[in-house]
């Protein structure tokens, strides 16, 4: 019998809310988490707005003791809090450090796009340059190694299956969920924590500012700055945070008798090969369409069964191309197009965390029977205007919402697409 992967727990630290209840409420209300960031102004960034989880220092102090806090930069901190939340949401207890038992059936895939750049910039580079390597202490490597997030989470929860960290730019979070679901479907794990995180740091965002791809025109109106699908979209707004989904093999979830949110029905990752219009920074449309079609085929559904799309939709020139690609890939024109929205309109682009946070948004919409608003696109891009009736400007009640597609496209011409289906007995 085919093994199936379902979602039994979730955790999220987003710019507009920590925890499932707050995040769901923010999504429904269309509450922006984008604010003016004074440090970006002081550092002469053209973009001076961003999405950063509020009050996170106080949050992490509620979760971890002094010893662990010394090893948690923002990236690992967001990931650790979200992973613990997902674990407890699924009905598990966080084991005591003295408890020597290992959960060999559960693993973790925890990605990030850029990772521990804040530690590198604020500690490693200055201390090395000052000749003070000897005084850096023991906590640098665990915070800057790419697998720092997955390693930390494995230790917190005593996980003994595959523990790794993936990275595929803005596709990272989705990719983690797809890889984790595949591992469960292959019978190699019973449960996998899957997600992503990204720190909040000018050193992470500087390269994007230098490329002029982040928003510089709304510094005085932060909540209007993230404008996916808008004619006045002016680049993405950088964001930070983390999210995890606990994926579980269906029979295990049923045996435990726990709440099942949704099934990961199918998924696909690929790359456009930097050809046919694709480059290091732009997607090959053929690659995108193959990815969407591959996910739909893996899910074993008809494209017509998709009720809503949570797009990549970052607020760049690529948004109209993305909508066109969805339409072509699904064979559905403006008249019978699914709902489409962008969570980034509220939280900005959380890079390596984006896919994970947005997957949680998808599952919360499935569970709550609503499609969240896409903010700041009252002035739709002309090429997207034909789809106007499918773009919610306020939350839409959809009690029959059953299947949602989630995609992410990243630098490197990499693509990912997931199909989630609401769990119904």
């Amino acid at each position: 019998m085919k093994r199936r992967a379902v979602v039994t727990g979730m955790g999220v630290v987003a710019p507009n809310g920590h925890g499932l209840d707050r995040f769901a409420e923010a999504l429904r209300a269309g509450r922006s988490g984008i604010r003016h960031i004074p440090e970006l102004a002081q550092l002469n960034f053209a973009c001076q707005v961003g999405g950063i989880p509020e009050g996170f220092d106080a949050i992490r102090q509620r979760y971890f003791d002094h010893e662990k806090l010394l090893s948690l930069n923002d990236n690992i901190g967001y990931a650790s809090v979200a992973a613990v939340d997902a674990w407890t949401d699924a009905g598990f207890a966080v084991p005591e450090a003295e408890d020597d038992r290992v959960d060999w059936e559960t693993g973790v895939i925890a990605g990030s796009g850029i990772g521990g750049m804040d530690t590198i910039a604020r500690t490693v580079v200055p201390m090395v340059n000052e000749g003070k390597v000897r005084r850096m202490g023991s906590r640098i490597v665990e915070q800057v190694m790419n697998s720092g997030t997955s390693a930390r989470i494995a230790g917190l929860l005593a996980l003994g299956n595959q523990v790794t960290s993936n990275s595929s730019a803005c596709s990272t979070g989705n990719e983690a969920v797809i890889e984790a679901a595949a591992r469960i479907r292959l019978g190699l794990a019973t449960r996998m924590l899957a997600g992503g995180s990204e720190g909040a740091s000018p050193y992470i965002w500087a390269g994007f500012d230098a490329m002029r791809v982040i928003c510089r025109k709304f510094n005085d109106r932060p909540e209007e700055a993230s404008r996916p699908m808008s004619a006045s979209a002016a680049g993405f707004v950088p964001g930070a945070g983390g999210a995890f989904l606990l994926l579980e093999e269906l029979e295990s979830a049923l045996t435990r008798g726990v709440r099942i949110y949704a099934e990961v029905l199918g998924g696909m990752v690929n790359c456009g090969g930097h050809r046919m219009g694709g480059t290091i920074t732009a997607p090959n449309p053929e690659g995108v369409m193959r990815c969407v079609r591959g996910a739909v085929a893996d899910a074993g559904i008809s494209p017509r069964e998709i009720d809503a799309i949570n797009g990549h939709l970052t607020a760049t020139y690529a948004d109209p191309v993305e909508v066109k690609n969805w339409s072509a890939a699904l064979g559905r024109g403006p008249k019978d197009f699914p709902w489409i929205n962008s969570t980034k309109s509220m939280i900005g682009h959380c890079l390596g965390a984006a896919g994970a946070i947005e997957c949680v948004a998808v599952v919360l919409q499935l569970r709550g029977g609503f499609v969240h608003p896409s903010l700041n696109c009252g002035d739709l891009h002309p090429e997207i205007a034909p789809y106007e009736g499918k773009i919610p400007h306020s939350a839409v009640a959809c009690p029959d919402l059953k299947v949602v597609a989630k995609a992410g496209f990243g630098f490197g011409d990499v693509n990912s697409c997931l199909i989630f289906r609401k769990w119904e007995q």
């Binding site: 010893e67 202490g137 023991s138």
Partner: protein, 82 residues
């Protein structure tokens, strides 16, 4: 600074690195930092740096390698202060 004062300061430093602070309540000069207090061996370098800061001294790597017990640390710091 007396042996007792140095010992108390070393114990205060170690408090930040032990998972179970109750282990420090019965600590003596013979208490082994790794085996008895279950301190992660990777954190020894942090403890050395902290000792350097607290006692205003420098401890080179060979000296640090000789510290296994609380008493070893106290003796070293006492010798450096002399």
């Amino acid at each position: 600074m007396s042996v007792e004062q140095i010992t108390q300061k070393v114990i205060d430093i170690l408090r930040g690195y032990v998972k179970d602070s109750a282990l420090l309540e019965k600590a003596t000069q013979e208490t082994h930092i790794l085996k008895d207090l279950k301190v992660n061996s990777a954190r020894l370098v942090d403890i050395i740096i902290k000792c350097e800061d607290v006692f205003g001294t420098s401890i080179d790597d060979d000296e640090a390698d000789r510290i296994a017990t609380i008493g070893d640390a106290v003796l070293l710091i006492q010798q450096k202060a002399a």
